[in-house]
Amino acid sequence: MAVLPAERDLRRVIGDGESIPDGEVEGLSDNDLLELHRWLVLLRTYDERSVVYHRQGRIGTYAIFWNHEAMQAGSVYALEREDWIFPSYRESAIGLLRGMPASTVLSWWRGHPAGWWNPLEWNVASICVPIGTHVPHAAGLAWGKKLRGESTCAIAYFGDGATSEGSFHEGANFAAVMRAPLVLFCNNNQWAISTPLSAQTAAETLADKAVGYGMPGVRVDGCDVLAVFEATREAVARARAGEGPTFIEAVTYRTAPHATADDPSAYIDAARVEEEKRRECLGRYESYLRRAGLLSDEAAEAVRAQAADLMREGIAAAEAEPPADLGLVFEHAYAAPPPSLSEDLTELRRILGG
């Protein structure tokens, strides 16, 4: 099979309500379209509330994903429940799309052990903090499932900066060589903290990297949830058909700080940010639904209220978690821990209990 150079143009489905007409995605019912809306609102609400909770001192440092919701919701909607998700910290709340309680993710950002979930319960791997280092994990899981004769796929999320990392390269190459059923999902928000894409790569597009691995490279508008869904559905179908991994470059723009600890005023173009905010993904999708006659003000308000309730319950539950016992410091690193750890715990309790 010949692998063609990456697509130049960004795939789009949603029009602008004026000169660019709306497209349609085959196989999506009205219910699907509204469910996708609920997912976008859920993520948006999670993100906006988390920034507030951080300012209120109720969670710690938080990596903001405002205007990344369409990439997360659109791609996960194209997966089966059995498929594995490998998130970076930018996708910290992606498990919510599979029913993970908001309190779990909020607990993670609160540094409480209740936030360390069991990946087997959700088929969502742990949040990966060091950039790009989870790409080989996703490749290994996809390859391992294939070796077992299962039809499970994996998707790994990472940013534009991650494509400079060696582990991205090694993971992508491994997946391609093993024909692992993997989707490499790059959310290109054009910034790695303060480093712009132009300082990250000399490639014309990130999707161009795909041809070097012998896999297709696809470019989509990352603010277009339907285009993201469609591209991911195609990639998943390829993967399940035994044709190996696909690289998806979803292009968006980071309109918020990298994280709550970051002040982008030193490096970002404020006018560009304002312009990009006007194109943000949730507003565009709501306009699309309204044009299609699928969303009323009341319905949109009800969806927002439901998400707000979920967050209120989530933060209340996270804050109601009893303080973690210090014994947990010594637990879980080993199935069969060396005896020295229990001696350390005894000693610590003696001193602190004093």
């Binding site: 979930w117 069991n118 990946p119 080989p136 994990h137 290994g140 390859w143 391992g144 070796l147 093993m178």
Partner: protein
């Protein structure tokens, strides 16, 4: 019992363990078609197929990183790093994920993978084929480390590592891959992690060693015959460490010389000396002395013998502690 070289014993362990457990798989550079550059994995690809003995791309971090994912899919991967110093690219995965992932899941998932590699010098090899990197691994929480000194232990410790629910790094003394022969139990043979071996009994001084330094310590003990009675303690596993055996031998002889091939500063010998200082102070009749490699890059092979701990240096150290 069969008489095998050390690397044949490693190979024997693989054949037994892959036969015993269909979830065990072997992966690495040149491990399949070639059977490994030292032939440690010879015959596995033919016997168990290319999906359980996998020739991987040349990518150490990719090998270990994908092994993490393979564990998540229910496999027990054994990763070969072709040489000690070629394992450094995989330290990223080892430190950031392998030693932490179980903890990160609150103990919900196990990562029963093995990283094994030939290690150590004395083989007249080019640069970066001679290192003793055990301290990096021992220092990584969540990871266990074993280093066999004999063919029998090479088989038994690898089997234990493969069966262990936690990630284990096994360093094999390449100097003795083919130069050392010994009796190796046939079939299943497991040497539990965390049990040291008294390689030789003595009463005046304990030589603590592991891996390639064990036979060296035994030679030193031989050459001290009539002068000092030296006990040789082969640690076999550095983490978990058989502290009981270490302290018992120190209590018995009252003098300890630690022999370590790696550079001295913050090497594993320093950890052993600290444990002895904390827990055996009153048993000791002399300072603890280390015989180690030096704090320099492993040298050009024409002068590598000057770097390696030698019988002469160990004997000299023993005389120091005896005369103290």
């Amino acid at each position: 019992m069969a008489e095998l070289t050390l690397v044949e014993a490693v190979n024997d362990a693989f054949h037994v363990e892959l036969e015993r457990d269909p979830d065990v798989m072997v992966m690495g550079e040149d491990v399949g078609r070639a059977g490994g550059v030292f032939r440690a994995t010879a015959g596995l690809r033919d016997r168990f197929g290319p999906e359980r003995c996998v020739d991987t791309p040349l990518a150490e971090a990719g090998i270990l990183g994908s092994a993490v994912g393979l564990c998540m899919a229910g496999w027990r991967p054994v990763c070969e790093m072709q040489y000690d110093a070629f394992s450094y690219p995989c330290l990223d995965q080892l430190i950031t994920h392998v030693g932490r992932y179980r903890w990160r899941t609150g103990g919900a998932m196990d990562f029963p993978l093995v990283v094994r590699m030939p290690y150590g010098g004395g083989v007249r090899a080019p640069e970066l084929h001679d290192d003793s990197p055990e301290a990096y691994y021992v220092h990584t929480p969540g990871v266990k480390v074993a280093i066999p000194a004999t063919p029998s232990d090479a088989k038994g410790l690898l089997a234990a590592a493969i069966r262990d629910p936690d990630p284990v790094v096994v360093l094999e003394p390449k100097l003795h891959y083919r130069t050392m022969r010994g009796e190796v139990p046939e079939g299943e043979h497991v040497v539990p992690l965390g049990e040291a071996r008294l390689a030789r009994e003595g009463s005046d001084v304990t030589l603590v060693a592991y891996g390639a330094m064990v036979p060296l310590a035994e030679q030193a003990a031989d050459s001290l015959d009539g002068e000092a009675s030296a006990e040789v303690l082969d640690l076999r596993s550095l983490k978990p460490l058989d502290e009981e055996a270490l302290l018992a031998s120190a209590a018995k002889t009252g003098r300890v010389v630690i022999v370590q091939e790696a550079p001295r500063t913050a090497g594993f010998g320093a950890e052993l000396a600290a444990i002895l200082a904390e827990k055996a102070m009153l048993d000791l009749r002399a300072p603890i002395v280390r015989v180690t490699g030096y704090d320099v890059p492993y040298p050009y092979w024409q002068i590598e013998d000057a770097y390696m701990p030698s019988v002469g240096r160990v004997v000299d150290a023993v005389r120091k502690v005896m005369e103290f």
